[in-house]
Amino acid sequence: MNISPEEAAQALREIEASRSAMRRAIQTHRGHLYLWLWGCIWVVVSIINWMYEQRALPAMLWIMGFGCLATVVIGMVQGGQIRARIDPRFMKVCATLLIFGYCVWPFLLGDLRSYDFRSYKGAYGYFTVIWMQLYMVAGIWFDSFWFWVGLAVTVIIVTTLMFAPALFWGATLLLGLVLFGSGFLVRNTWH
């Protein structure tokens, strides 16, 4: 088939218009909703832990439960619109990390009831850092952005816990804000 240069230019403009329409349509699928959600949760949890320390635990578990539920709901709604094939190896690595971090180590290797985490802050830091390892694995697998977020949070949590415990809750609050802010970065700059 033969077309004129004007028709070719028009077709290329239509291609770009369709690509832009799709880019706008998938703007809500870039992962920023999770960053906003968990950023807010982290801020709230940091504040109540800062104020009430160990007494904040029941409220924190409820908030985390709400966060997990909201994550599943967002995933189901967005998965009904655009669905990426998730690498099963990635899921298995995540499951292994979570099972080890949340079950094997605290319950089997170190009995959670008697295991001394050194402090409540230590326990909080431990369970937080487990999740950050998932960010790092996701970064290695998909996009280095997640790796650097996970690494930065891990370093700040561990550093403040070990060398500046007085700054620990402030650091976790700041990290919540960083997660929330990076949601805007992901939403506005990823294509």
């Binding site: 077309i3 070719a8 655009i82 990426a84 094939r85």
Partner: protein, 96 residues
């Protein structure tokens, strides 16, 4: 030199291929979501998807999500290659 693909060049199909090739490898898009994004009607989109599927440019999967039937569409490797060749052919027509 790449040749223009008459199947892809039809305006609505060009729109569809541009949109779904924009998504990453292995990413599938819901029929309704695609229809709304491109501003096409059910019948129009369905007919053009059938043409593209018959040519092997897209894959269509039907499955149930929350007990409701859903149709997902994805570009095949052959479809991506054909679309890239078509775009290259369009560029080659433009005056240098």
């Amino acid at each position: 030199m790449n040749e223009l693909d008459s199947i892809i060049h039809q305006p609505a199909r060009l729109q569809i291929m541009s949109a779904i090739c924009q998504l990453g490898d292995g990413v599938r898009v819901d029929f309704t979501f695609l229809k709304d994004s491109l501003g096409l009607t059910d019948g129009n989109l369905g007919a053009h998807l059938a043409t593209l599927e018959a040519k092997g440019y897209i894959a269509i999967d039907k499955e149930f999500v929350a007990r409701r039937p859903k149709t997902f569409v994805a570009a095949t490797p052959a479809g991506r290659a054909a679309f890239a060749a078509h775009v290259a052919a369009l560029h080659s027509i433009l005056p240098k």
